[in-house]
């Protein structure tokens, strides 16, 4: 039979009380922090999972912020593209109204050109819209995609007669300098500014040059391989036929970047962001319509009070309107895609939050139950230990 001594009682009592106190402390920590894993040693696997899940959660939360902002940005872009589309629709309607069927006063026609000038200004304003300090259509550049002070010309087109439509030609082109840059010189005193439609009509070895509804100071210009209008030089490959008219417009030059900053939608995956200015306004990789050019052309036709020329623009304006509509549609689709990603990320975030909580957080009911259980055990223990440790033969021998 094992001997039992006071030492055994005391040691066991101290050890049991200590254990219960440790349990109580643990319950206290869990109730204070709300977590069941406080240090990696509490659950090494849980700590490992927490590291991964927390990283995933942080990534999702971060992505959610960026996609949410990107979605707002695309929404604004879509709105602006809608306005550009409306501008082009207005221009088309104006062209139809003032086209062949128009029998009114030419002065009225000229006066209506203020509408095209307003549309031109609106286009410039809408395409240069900024969000969060960055132009929306600048293709990854911080400067505006279009600046009236940085002009260029459209390619030269021809009409065989006053009633004909536009057709491609290879006679005339804008001359370039030795470095390949356009000879268009905005600093020249006679530079006409924007929006400008230039009409060059060949007759008898010379060109009559009209800038919108006015005659250019250089007009008439004698035919040559290179003809100098002062603010631009024109190359000619062959002599035109009398009565042929050549047209080009002065428009703002795209000075944005190659692509809009991409939008990150998941780890290692990003999608194209907004459309670039040259995609919207010049139909890059698309219909190839220069919206500024079409409006400037219509403006010139109105100022020249030429219903046939106005009529010639109708097809191109329709195509330009279609191009604006394409841009709006593409942007809308991108917006939906990003919004879908945002919604998915939201669900993912909820799931991850749940996983992180399940992995790490304490079941408070369990914590409180354990705490209550431990307190009760301690109370019972102190009472019983007082009786056990109080027993001594010394008392009986008194």
């Amino acid at each position: 039979m094992m001997r039992v001594t006071q030492g055994v009682f005391i040691r066991q009592s101290v050890a049991a009380m200590q254990k219960k106190m440790q349990e109580l402390q643990r319950s206290q920590e869990e109730s204070l922090t709300g977590n069941r894993i406080l240090t990696p040693a509490d659950d090494p696997g849980g700590a490992f999972r927490d590291s991964i899940f927390s990283s995933d959660l942080s990534g999702v939360e971060s992505l959610q912020k960026t996609t949410s902002v990107a979605s707002s940005r695309l929404s604004l872009a879509s709105e602006k593209l809608g306005m550009i589309h409306d501008n082009m629709l207005d221009a088309s309607e104006l062209a139809v109204t003032m086209g062949n069927g128009y029998q009114g006063d030419p002065a009225t026609m000229r006066n209506l050109s203020y509408k095209t000038e307003n549309i031109f200004d609106d286009l410039l304003k809408n395409i240069n819209i900024e969000a969060d300090g960055m132009p929306l259509f600048s293709g990854g550049r911080t400067r505006n995609p279009y600046d009236p002070d940085n002009p260029t010309t459209t390619t030269i087109r021809m009409r065989g007669s006053d009633t004909a439509g536009f057709s491609g030609q290879n006679n005339l082109s804008i001359a370039t300098d030795a470095t390949g840059n356009s000879t268009l010189d905005p600093s020249d005193a006679n530079y006409p500014g924007l929006p400008t439609s230039v009409k060059m009509t060949y007759n008898g070895g010379q060109f009559d040059v009209m800038i919108n509804g006015d005659t250019d100071p250089s007009s008439p210009v004698a035919y040559g391989a290179t003809m100098d209008l002062g603010w631009v030089q024109i190359d000619s490959a062959s002599v035109p036929t009398d009565g042929q008219s050549f047209y080009f417009e002065i428009v703002p030059k795209y000075q944005g970047g190659l692509e809009y900053p991409k939008i990150k939608i998941s780890d290692q995956q990003s999608v194209a962001g907004n459309m670039t200015g040259d995609e919207v306004m010049e139909g890059k990789n698309g219909r190839g319509q220069n919206l500024f050019g079409a409006i400037a052309g219509l403006n010139g036709a109105l100022k020249r009070a030429d219903p046939h020329e106005v009529n010639a623009w109708i097809g191109q304006l329709e195509e330009a309107r279609g191009q604006a509509s394409d841009s709006e549609t593409v942007t809308g689709m991108r917006q939906v895609q990003v919004e879908t990603v945002t919604a998915t990320l939201d669900e993912e975030k909820t799931s991850l939050n749940e996983i992180v909580a399940k992995n790490k957080e304490a079941d408070m009911f369990d914590v409180l139950s354990r705490m209550e259980q431990t307190i009760q055990a301690l109370q019972v223990m102190t009472t019983s230990e007082r009786n056990i440790l109080g027993v001594s033969l010394v008392d009986l021998l008194r």
């Binding site: 240090t39 990696p40 509490d42 090494p44 490992f48 990283s55 969060d132 290692q268 790490k360 033969l393």
Partner: protein, 599 residues
């Protein structure tokens, strides 16, 4: 029977019970003495002297006073203390290491890294935002400072551990001397008729205490003495000898002073196999400072350094191939080129004859830490005054044939920039207004620390590129892009660089060269998880050993402990026997009186 015999027997009874009462008293007074073994007396009757007449016995005598011990239990108790001592020492300090790596409160390295990656995400959303660039560098600074703190915490933990090793050795020395002295006393006393009971207890207690500090093997000697040895066979105590542990050269792998016995040359640091001393040495040299290259162990400081090294390299590799909000006009590498490089001479070809160097080789002390990552590849640079139309130059880097000087010369030969040494670093200055890295398949820019976010060779030195802190426009956001016509241009709102930085979050890396490709968060989780496992394992082992020791201590208490009830019962027993013997003296006296009266 002569009446004198009756008196004599009564006297012997008085003496024997008196002695027993003395032992009971001794037991009661030592009821709380650690290591004390209950003593008891053994009484023997004295047989009758044969005189030819029938006669009874001659009384009682104490034949033996003995300790109530079970040597097997004593031995098991002594053996179990060493492992417990080792684990308890570890349990004292491991929570400090654990706290350093703990991220459960969302205030650790993982959280800071996530903030860094998230800042890159936010920057990619709008690269023109100055706040975004400042925030990215701020988060990078947070990461590097926290890593510095982690390193400090780890090394600061080892200082008290090392101090405690010294204190533990002092405790061991004191106990060894005491055991030797007691040994001598026991041997001397064994030759007398007085058994050295209390000395035996004291010696056993000291051996148990010693076992808590260091692994001890006990060999009993015939003369009552014991010899103590370590598991590795080092003699600790004999009856004439006590080993004396000292701390002096040579240094251990971790840079701390070694442990020697009696100033002998041999370093016995690694010959300690158990006890508190072993626990402390393990913590210092294995858990914290373990290094596969020096002692075959992967300590947590090594893991931290490897993790930080990979983070530094991957971040710098990505960032060195980005362009900031403006193209570069000049940059200086964040890494010193090493102690062996003499900027004035041609010492490069003498010492650093290749780029791929063993960064731990003493010949290359202080070379840029990521030089061994450089590969045979091409550095492509775009340069020129017009960001819309940049020229391009390519520089081939071959680490097998080029020295650092060769690299500098190759960079300097590029029309994009000049390359010179400045304060033992490579400094680039644009030759044609601007330059920017298009791509670097060699990794030389990151290795030299040009366009790097993180500097420093290890966790202790980890730092952030101060050029970028001072001018946040140097923070990489985009890439040089190639237009459809083949020309290169710099779009200052391009976010490809920031996106590449944010993709570091999910990049698969292998910081420990184990073939385990995982994200930074996963690797860090593994580091933390393994540390947690180690601590949990130690705690479980400690609990198991505590239960085991509790049991053995209980058994010892049962065998050798003093029970007050028992002693009080014995007290009554011997008191009554003493009283009875006294009565016998009285009775004998009365008998004597009667006889005398008869005369």
């Amino acid at each position: 029977m002569p009446l004198a015999d009756v008196l004599n027997i009564a006297k012997l009874g008085l003496l024997a019970n008196q002695s027993s009462l003395k032992v009971v008293s001794h037991n009661i007074s030592n009821v709380n003495t650690p290591g004390y073994s209950k003593q008891n007396t053994r009484m023997g009757s004295i047989g009758a002297v044969t005189t030819g007449r029938p006669s009874g016995g001659m009384g009682v005598v104490i034949t033996q006073v003995r300790r109530q011990v079970d040597m097997l239990v004593e031995k098991r108790l002594s053996n179990s203390t060493s492992e417990l001592g080792r684990l308890e020492a570890r349990n004292r300090y491991l929570p400090f290491v654990e706290e350093t790596f703990n991220n459960m409160d969302n205030d650790g390295l993982t959280s800071r890294l996530e903030n860094f990656f998230s800042a890159a995400d936010q920057l990619s959303d709008n690269v023109t935002n100055t706040v975004g660039r400042v925030q990215l560098m701020g988060e990078a600074e947070n990461v590097s400072r926290f890593v510095n703190d982690m390193y400090s915490s780890m090394t600061e933990v080892t200082l008290p551990i090392d101090d405690e090793i010294t204190v533990t050795l002092d405790n061991i020395n004191k106990r060894l001397q005491s055991i030797r002295d007691i040994n001598l006393d026991i041997i001397k006393q064994e030759t007398t008729n007085t058994p050295p009971l209390d000395l035996l207890d004291q010696r056993q207690q000291l051996i148990n205490e010693l076992g808590d500090l260091i692994d001890v093997r006990t060999v009993e000697q015939n003369n009552g003495g014991v010899s103590l040895m370590t598991s590795s066979g080092k003699l600790l105590v004999d009856y004439t000898y006590a080993a004396h542990f000292t701390r002096d050269q040579p240094m251990t792998d971790s840079g701390f002073m070694g442990i020697r016995i009696d100033d002998r040359v041999e370093d016995v640091t690694n010959l300690v196999f158990n006890g508190e001393l072993k626990g402390l040495i393990e913590l210092r040299d294995t858990v914290v400072h373990g290094n596969p290259a020096t002692n075959g162990e992967s300590g947590w400081l090594y893991r931290l350094n490897a993790f930080v090294g990979e983070l530094r390299w991957q971040t710098n590799l990505v960032h060195s191939q980005t362009v900031g909000a403006k193209m570069q006009t000049g940059q200086t590498g964040v890494f010193q080129l090493g102690d062996t490089t003499d900027l004035a001479g041609d010492i490069y070809t003498t010492f650093i004859d290749q780029l791929v160097v063993d960064v731990n080789d003493s010949n290359y002390n202080g070379v840029p830490p990521d030089m061994d990552h450089v590969q045979n590849g091409t550095l492509t640079i775009a340069y020129g005054p017009d960001p819309d139309n940049l020229s391009v130059d390519s520089i081939n880097i071959n680490p097998a044939t080029m020295t650092i000087e060769d690299v500098r010369a190759a960079l300097d030969a590029s029309p994009a920039f000049s390359a010179v040494y400045d304060s033992n670093r490579v400094k680039l200055t644009a030759q044609d207004t601007y330059y920017g890295v298009v791509s670097d398949t060699s990794g030389i820019m990151a290795a030299l620390g040009i366009g790097a976010i993180f500097g420093g060779r290890n966790a202790m030195e980890m730092s952030t590129n101060q050029e970028m802190i001072a001018d946040n426009r140097m923070v990489g956001i985009g890439h040089i892009v190639q237009a459809d016509d083949g020309t290169y241009q710099f779009d200052d709102g391009n976010n490809q660089g920031a996106l590449a930085m944010s993709n570091l979050r999910s990049m698969r890396v292998d910081p420990f060269s184990t073939g385990d490709n995982a994200t930074f968060a996963s690797h860090y989780g593994q580091i933390v998880g393994e540390l947690g496992s180690l601590i949990m394992q130690d705690k479980n082992s400690t609990t198991s050993l505590e239960i085991q020791q509790e049991f053995i201590t209980g058994v010892r208490e049962s065998v050798s402990g003093v029970s007050l009830e028992e002693e009080l019962t014995d007290l009554i027993k011997f008191q009554r026997a003493f009283q009875a013997s006294g009565k016998m003296v009285g009775a004998a006296d009365e008998l004597m009186q009667s006889v005398l009266q008869m005369l």
